[in-house]
Subunit: 429 residues, 2 copies
């Protein structure tokens, strides 16, 4: 049996899961893969997990370079996270000719271009199945099963924390802050939830999926990102009444002139498949030019689902290491950034929520502005009535251009009958 | 650029789709895969598709052996179907050391053991992504993305024809025979629909997925198979009232002592993800010991979705052909059949439909029999009342053993108040 030697940097939650799978399922993995996967070394400054994974003290180090520089190690798994020290570890490992497996979407989204170029120069590969969708094998699906397809669009619920929050708000009518607090208590949200609730984590992930579609990266600063922090329980109620569900979607539509890529709360008609993706689960709709639309669903995070993805990469790369002959397929790629279509150019339906003084002519004033910007209204909801006071008014528009909507909203917010800042949610069908 | 030469046997619907993709997307495929995929020869006795795929007359042959025996051809795609001549073609191609790609689930399910052994002896591989789930990359997902997982269960809607029929019956209250006729007119059902409506096609497919889970095949005769032909619109109505949806499920549960593998109409609670899989779409829930439950969804049949799967296999095998060094991972496998757990041993809830004479004591007589067989009743529905005449009565049981249910039904059908043969549908949650 061929041996493949593995070094693991970072033994937090996911690292512990990976160590468990590699150690506890060793015999089963040998039998099914034909490879002996040897976890040779674990590097972490913090030793608190050591007992849990039951690894001999001698195999544990607090110095990642001990395993990066170990000539016997074939695959380095990076599970440190973040874009600073993790990048140094990966760069060093690739330069040493190690295959690398990582779950680090932030690092890939920010520096994927350089990392892939470095891997290519060293004639090795980077496995990143765990970086998107936790245990859902979406990366392998796009790389292999959908290889005959030019990808046309991706719609993903890629962040479990925000999906949990929106699900709770929808199913139980809870307020954003209450659900966030509950999610933090349950461990579904970080103490500092900014990366998740701000939409940045989903943006990193859609950039990884976009890379698989175009083989080039998008510059993160070109991705329009909105989070869920401004969604109110009122928006959820109106959406329900209108036959929609609000989800934080990561969207990439691939077109001749570039990619329309963005993350924002989106209204989906109730019968859309993604509306069945609830709680901490992730779901991804991928449309290809040959296959049509396919969907993938599963747990998007967590110790064991993510470990499943990491170990699947270790197995695939292990097979390549053992089987590879002379490399005959050059992996030269166009490494330039992909042009991004500015959000101002998108066209969709919009949900607009305004705080309007309940006074004759108020709705007419808003309608006039929309009309002037060539935006036509599909429906208006005004529930509460309080003559002279501000009440929430919701409008659904027909298809309109984002730039026009933004200009119209700016004008609307200057009306004296409008209180506070109006809010929009884009609608996809 | 490395060339890979391909021979295609069988140019019907799917074959035409494959030829179109290989010919029309040739440049794009070269750019993205690093391989030049050359469709060198097409064999079909019927030349009616030749113009459609625009292949030179000289590349067309009516003799499959011309391409099987052509030393320049690396990959043979078999799209003839059936288990006779197709088997001869595949056997001959494997013996010649060709890689083989096929969509032929019937052949794999019946003769997979021998075909895989032959491939192994010739040190080549068989790609069969197109055999299950059309364009859904479920085979690649199970082989690569889920490789760290011992598969615990698979629940699949694997047959588009029957799912279309059940969806129409559910959404529009149509009768089985009317929908079947409509499906035939739309091309969703064959003129002879037996393989589909009898559940045999789904049984072939679940055997393929079971093979990927256990690396051994199930003897087809050991799979309990029921189709949809006995489902009435009344059953659909009762199911809806009870909060369930009826789907033709292919089920495989992998246990220590064997696999519980079967195909039959199944009631699923309305909130189960598979109930969102409607029309000709397929959906597959796969549960692994590490990842938990994942789901895959897409078009389960059709020219282009199936072509997407065939070409993805061609790309993967093409890469292996070009890149492979000396084969170092032996693919020796246990080729014995997997033990199957007899259906008589399963335990689930049951929906029972009986035709019962509307007479005092009739329901009590049935209940007594169920009680004697240790089956407890969860609910009873009797809608129509026609004193002295037979009316439909539906009972939902709590969990019971299949053998007990079958014995109870036999006893029930002997009661003088019971007319005709009673009918059951198994309930999964």
């Amino acid at each position: 049996m061929q041996k493949v030697h593995i070094g693991l940097i970072g033994c937090g939650t996911v690292g512990t899961g990976v160590a468990k799978v590699l150690l506890e399922k060793k015999d089963w993995l040998s039998k099914t893969t034909g490879l002996e996967l040897v976890l040779k070394r674990i590097a972490d400054k913090n030793t608190r997990r050591r007992k849990e994974v039951n690894i001999p003290r001698t195999l544990w180090t607090n110095n990642a370079y001990e395993l990066i520089n170990d000539p016997a190690i074939d695959i380095v798994i990076e599970l440190v996270g973040g874009t600073t020290i993790a990048k140094e570890f990966i760069d060093a490992a690739l330069k040493k000719g190690k295959y690398v497996v990582t779950a680090n979407k932030a690092l890939l989204a920010e520096h994927g271009q350089k990392i892939m170029a470095l891997a290519s120069a060293s004639n090795v590969e980077v496995g990143f199945e765990a970086s998107v969708g936790g245990g859902i094998p979406i990366i392998h699906a796009m790389k292999t099963g959908l290889a005959a397809n030019k990808i046309q669009s991706i719609f993903g619920i890629l962040n479990g924390t925000t999906n949990y929050i929106l699900t709770k708000m929808t199913d139980e009518g809870m307020d954003y802050n209450d659900v966030l607090k509950q999610a933090q208590e349950l461990g579904y949200a970080e103490a500092d939830p900014t990366l998740d609730v701000g939409g940045h984590d989903a943006a990193h992930k859609i950039n990884v999926l976009s890379y698989l579609s175009t083989q080039s990266w998008v510059n993160m600063k070109d991705i329009h990102v909105e989070g869920v922090t401004e969604i109110t329980s009122q928006d959820i109620q109106y959406a329900t009444e209108l036959g929609y569900v609000i989800k934080l979607l990561a969207i990439a539509k691939f077109m001749e002139k570039g990619v329309d890529i963005r993350v924002h709360p989106t209204m989906l008609p109730k019968d859309n498949l993604l509306t069945s993706v609830n709680g901490v689960f992730n779901g991804i709709l991928v449309t290809g030019d040959v296959v049509g639309t396919t969907m993938y669903y599963g747990r998007g995070a967590g110790m064991m689902p993510t470990a499943s993805a990491v170990v699947s990469d270790v197995i695939q790369l292990g097979r390549k290491i053992v089987e590879r002959g002379p490399v005959r397929i050059p992996s030269a790629r166009a490494y330039g950034y992909v042009p991004v279509i500015p959000i101002s150019e998108i066209v969709c339906k919009y949900y607009l929520r305004m705080s309007l003084v309940d006074r004759p002519g108020a709705i007419a004033a808003v309608s006039n502005i929309l009309g002037r910007h060539k935006i036509s209204i599909a429906s208006v909801i005004q529930k509460a009535r309080k003559a002279g006071d501000a009440v929430p008014v919701v409008m659904m528009t027909h298809e309109a251009n984002e730039a026009s909507i933004q200009r119209a909203l700016r004008d609307i917010d200057r009306l004296s009958v409008v209180k506070g800042k109006s809010f929009l949610i884009r609608v996809e069908s």
